[in-house]
């Protein structure tokens, strides 16, 4: 398959993760976020799945690349996951999630550019 196709699968996954992350960040920043929120739980579960075992399916491998870009070491993923499950989330955690969102945005934009052929 050409790069366009490969990257389109990547793009789909990254888009989904980026939207989830922004949804949680918006709720955290507006003070409306609760540990029981569905999106917060989904994000927590996702971060935990990245931390717990070396997941080798296609989606997990792609997300591992993004985590490296955001300088979020694997051991921090569990900590972020736990923080989302508890009550109030610290400012530092919100900032870390914001960095992850920015890393994801960089990767998403880069992927879109490659799909368009700008960087070929």
């Amino acid at each position: 398959m050409s790069d366009i196709g490969l990257f389109s699968a990547f793009y789909e996954q990254i888009n989904e993760a980026a939207e989830l992350l922004d949804e949680v960040l918006i709720a955290l920043k507006t003070g409306s976020s609760q540990p029981g929120d569905e999106s917060r739980q989904r994000l927590s579960n996702w971060l935990e799945s990245m931390a717990s075992v070396r997941s080798s399916d296609f989606g997990a491998q792609l997300m591992t690349m993004i985590m490296r870009d955001a300088n979020i070491a694997p051991q921090k993923w569990q900590r972020l996951s736990d923080a989302l499950r508890q009550g109030p989330v610290e400012v530092g955690t919100v900032e870390e999630l914001g960095r992850l969102a920015e890393a994801m945005e960089q990767r998403r934009a880069g992927t879109m550019a490659r799909m368009r052929g700008w960087t070929r």
């Binding site: 389109s8 699968a9 793009y11 922004d22 960040l25 918006i26 945005e105």
Partner: protein, 377 residues
Amino acid sequence: MNDYFSGAIAQLLERGEVLVGKIPVDLPLEFHALSTACQTQLGVILADLRALLKDPKMAQPALQPERLRRFRRAVDQLNRLESTALNALTRADEHDLRLNRLIDRIRTEIRFPLLPPTVSALSPEYFCIVTDFNLLLAPPNEGDFLLHLPDLYHELGHPLLITKSNPRVRPFQAAFSEATNAILDALERERIKEERRSTKASQRLADSLSVWQSSWAPWWMTEFFCDLFALYTLGPAYAWSHFHLSVKRGGNPFELPIFRPTTHPADDARMTTLLCGLNQLGYNAEAGEIEARWQELIALTGAKPDPDYVRCFPKALLLKISILALEGVRGMNCRLATPGADDEVHSLLNQAWQTFWSDPHHFAAWEKQAVQRLGQI
């Protein structure tokens, strides 16, 4: 930026409505799934844009980074929809219709476990699949020739790896995970060994091993599994098609990335894996024939592998990948292209390659008639 967003989002909403109006209403049945996907996605994008414009909390200063990211995602999704799915729908001509009927016939023959993609001959490069629209793009006019059509089977492999929560594809995805773990473990052991040596050369190799790990997972393994899916459901024609593309495309068949991961593995490694697969299926004679042609091509190019090539593509692991992929294809209950398989499309595509080699001078004339027969299948 509130005033910018007000103007830009309003304009995008207008653009979105124009796009909705451009979706044809008299499409053949083969394009209905794509049309529905297109309309659904447009609806979601426009709803997201309205929320960005009208939701009072999105005007808060603290949320502007999130607003900007959401805006950019909506812009890119709209552009992408316009340039792929909508383009395919407005084009939908007789040539595309024939390709769609062909892919549906293939799907039935091989007992493909998912719905078939919609096909459009709009690819600016080679065959590819745009998975979020389930849209397979073929090169223009490729449907009028036979020797590259086996690559349709490769493209069908991609949705099998990324579809979520579908038990029918779980065996293939499990095999993919097991193969990925095996190669990553092997390369990690090598990398640690080199790091412990602490020489400049060993550090360079350790860095290369790290780049290769990032290439293998998930990119290269995806390509190997899609290659093997195609081989196991079509047979030798797919290996010949890989040979054909490698002859035409050029480049170093033993290419290894140095600084950055790449998306496609070395052509030679792909061929080695395909030959392992052919032997798994019982095509020993055909594997020998293809290997001889491959070595002839390699000799002609003068290309030689780097000394570390076998550390990146260990033969034992390529064999293991071929075995795991076969288990995965069997696990999905797909029809295997063993020597006794005789479905019409399968037989025609393999016969094309047999005819090409037995009578290359008259192949083009034979192919013309065969393509007409394909259109009647």
